[in-house]
Amino acid sequence: MQRNSIRKDHQLTVRMLIIGLMLIMAYLALFGLLLISGMNPIFVFVIGIGMVLFQYFMSDKLVLKTTGAKPVTKEEQPKLHEIIERLSKIGGIPKPRTIAVMDTEAPNAFATGRSPKHATVAVTQGLLNKLNDEELEGVIGHELAHIKNRDMMVMTWASLIVVVAGFLMQMLFWMSLFGGFGGHRRQGNGGQTMAMMMVLYIGVIIIYFISQLLISTLSRYRELAADREGAIITGSPTNLASALKKISGQIAQIPEKDLRRVEHANAFFIIPALQGNTIASLMSSHPPTEMRVARLIEMQRQNWHLLR
């Protein structure tokens, strides 16, 4: 078995499990905090789940609308359809329902949809223009791997806690502005309720940031897993590696900020290391490209006898 199949990345699986456990702990902490402070956790979570369900079922339509991606037929984009159809078959998932193209020059792609049966894959015109067929296969393989791994579902449900904590944070903030904490205050007990609410507020903020951190970490792990799964589907890790290099080496680096703004922020020109610093990389949803490329090349090296 070991010999003719590509080994699972156990380290990555273990890491995802650890993050998952930490997320569960964050959920429990939030639940406990709500109980202690006398709020009904069920009520709060029902609202949160409602918000997430909305996102869950509407996501594909919403995303198409906000990105301006236009569904394309087989006649309009025969090559794109052919690649997606072939790779879906290899990956053992149904061909995504909607295949769309965004009319932007910046090379990019995404997959969405709550299940493989309701999936959408979209690429930008820039991606089609810049990449050759192999590289395009690499990117599509990665997106199909997201669908296969049900990342949309995993990430939506994982981020429930951020939705709930964020909602609570806002609610507590407005409550503190209007009529003070606690609503109808029990007599003689006002100070205590106030202190309780303060504890709740601070606790919720801490949980919010920690879970945000956990979720972006989880997202980066899912990206690495999709890189790997995608490379198994296409049979060539270097396809994606080369596409990633091509995409990120160029456009992604050009900043949108105004020269004058940076100039006022001073120091920048002397120490040009403001980007790629640790805070940003902790919060970012994708691992750095160099890391992804290095892992793909390593995968190719280890499994050269199994890959084409």
Partner: protein
């Protein structure tokens, strides 16, 4: 000695090396038309200043008139114009001249004069309007780094990154000192 030079350069940024930098533009644009590169200037440029409180900027137009007289730079061209605008408190001094050489000379003499007023640090960039084949773009010379980069704004603060990449690699291949991509900052409301 080196320390001295660094300090000196900091207080009075526009040394002779910067004027050489701007001339790099001429080296490229003076090539025969229709050549392989076909990059050209379209007769307009602007010097971008940030206006800290200094008498020079309170009445920019009369200051420029003075400057004009004082420098009495070339004859066949419109007088220097300046305009102040926007949230960044920027001030643009506008140069128009169909003779590229003269325009670059003008910018250099105005720049060094402004530097002599002790305003070297207030100069942000020199911006030239240019074309490559039929498409127009801006060449930005960042005065802080003395390097160039292309800027091709489309509407709604969107940029034609692809054209910029193309021009950038062309400039680099011709030996123009080029900013690395991560410093290709945008500039809005360029008045030329």
């Amino acid at each position: 000695m080196r320390l001295f030079r660094t300090l000196f350069k900091k207080s009075n940024r526009l040394g002779s090396d910067e004027s050489d930098i701007l001339s790099a533009i001429l080296r490229i644009t003076n090539q025969p038309a229709g050549g392989e590169t076909d990059i050209n200037l379209s007769g307009a440029a602007t010097l971008l200043l940030n206006t800290n409180e200094h008498p020079f900027f309170t009445d920019i137009n009369s200051s420029l008139k003075e400057l004009d007289k004082e420098l009495f730079i070339s004859t066949i061209r419109t007088p220097l114009r300046g305009l102040k605008s926007d949230m960044y408190n920027s001030c643009w001094i506008i140069f128009e001249n169909s003779n590229n050489q003269k325009m670059v000379d003008d910018i250099n003499s105005v720049s060094s004069h402004i530097a002599n007023l002790g305003l070297g640090n207030n100069m942000t960039a020199a911006i030239f309007k240019g074309t490559i084949r039929d498409q127009s773009f801006y060449w930005i010379c960042n005065y802080r780094t003395s390097k160039f980069y292309p800027l091709a704004p489309l509407e709604n603060s969107i940029r034609d990154n692809e054209l910029e990449m193309k021009v950038g690699s062309l400039l680099a291949s011709m030996g123009i000192p080029l900013e690395p991509h991560e410093n290709w900052y945008s500039l809005s409301d360029i008045p030329i």
